[in-house]
């Protein structure tokens, strides 16, 4: 696979609503790229893990997987706050960071 620019994963028109940030859009693009290439990645991972296959096939699969674009890797995905784009202390259940969840946590009288 040839080297490709990250822009190939960018949609022509922004398909997000709410808070939008350059880093947030980038993360969204990575998520989409991963979703698109996940079956291929899993297939290659299967070839690599299957010890009954010829060593050559497995090595080729390893090479192909490592040469896939970085954006298709799940480790590139970072959970960001939906309301502020912050990457730190984001609660997975709320998809909000610490500061944005505080107002929700006020006990009701």
């Amino acid at each position: 696979m040839s080297k490709a620019a990250a822009s190939m994963f960018r949609p022509k028109k922004l398909d997000l609503s709410g808070f939008v940030n350059t880093r947030l859009i980038r993360d969204h693009n990575k998520r989409n790229a991963f979703e698109q290439m996940e079956p291929e990645r899993q297939a290659l991972r299967y070839l690599i893990r299957n010890t009954t296959l010829p060593q050559r096939v497995r090595a080729q699969a390893q090479l192909q997987l490592s040469q896939m674009h970085v954006y298709t890797r799940p480790t590139q995905i970072k959970n960001r706050c939906v309301a502020s784009g912050t990457a730190r202390s984001v609660f997975r259940d709320f998809r909000l960071n610490r500061v944005r969840t505080e107002p929700l946590m006020v006990p009701s009288d």
């Binding site: 998520r31 979703e35 079956p39 991972r45 299967y46 690599i48 893990r49 009954t52």
Partner: protein
Amino acid sequence: MSQGRILDLIKAQCRIFSLTFNPQRLRLGNKILRQRLRGPALAAWYPQKTVSFRDLQNTYKPLGLTTFDEAEDDREEAIQIAKLRGKGRPKKKRTAAESRSAKKKK
């Protein structure tokens, strides 16, 4: 029960429940095939775009219906004020020669 009988039993079990019969415990990588795809769940993290005011405007414009957009109105007013003060945008340079002459002036 003999070893062979047990193996046959396991083989039949695997056939019925569509499992892989692997008595040698080889690493076949079936673990990967059993995993569920995480992509759709991960891609749905950020809220997707819904209908906006702009979409509403665009759908009703061909029908001849006008909509009032306060933000757009404010913007146009601000531009008019800026133009009166001589702070409007410069004229667009259409040709290469025009843009070159504009650079020379500076």
